[in-house]
Symmetry: C2
Subunit: 133 residues, 2 copies
């Protein structure tokens, strides 16, 4: 499926069900899911999804990940209120990663920072680049 | 290490070596690595890195991934010329993902599209959104 799509012209369409059935899940049945702020384009976090999490995200309109630590589904923000409303869901060329464009309510990170990527390498040091909100 | 950094103030610094030693690699010894165009902010691809790939990326100044299919390191673009010059490398809150801000030469995707995320879900269909260059 993904091999066929490599040479497909722009605007070629295929059935979502067939694409989801062809995703290349890892040994845990998951693909990496990158959440990006649809407006600022900031990369907010990387989570994990199985097919059900992807389908829930699409049908409910909010990002729903698989928690590897808790071994359960979690709608991002279900306790904090920091929901990610889905604007667009994209798949990559080889079907092992998902990109979510989202409208993020509040901070995306559980540390109350806007993004989980607040640690920046600078030479031989790593610097904390944002304050908790 | 990453737990301690959750409450660290902005501009707090720690040694890179200690942070790299604390990364939470998966069973294959890898973390997900998201490459983002530093200027356009477009998410280009998701690759995989072990500690050596991260260190090579930092020391060489070009994104170097671990190829799971070929079981080898590959400097992105080493054959195609479509290199990713490193602008900044960030780590996430729990140390299991890397974000690379890069200057991408040519298309990032092996299909000669600007980004690997050229498949967009639209209702019950998936649409090819960009043409090969």
């Amino acid at each position: 499926m993904f091999k066929d799509l490599e040479t497909a012209p722009k605007n070629h369409r295929v059935a979502l069900d067939e694409v989801l059935a062809s995703l290349k899940f890892n040994d845990d049945g998951l693909v990496a899911a990158v959440a990006q702020d649809a407006r600022s384009k900031e990369v907010l976090m990387v989570g994990w999804m199985d097919r059900t999490a992807i389908q829930r995200t699409l049908s409910e309109g909010y990002a729903c990940y698989w928690s590897r630590s808790r071994q359960t589904y979690w709608r991002k923000g279900e306790t904090s209120g920091h929901l990610q409303a889905l604007v667009e869901l994209r798949l990559d060329c080889d079907g092992d990663a998902v990109l979510l464009l989202v409208e993020q309510t509040g901070p995306a990170c559980h540390t109350n920072r806007p993004s989980c990527f607040y640690l920046t390498v600078e030479g031989e040091k790593v610097r904390v680049t944002t304050e908790s909100q």
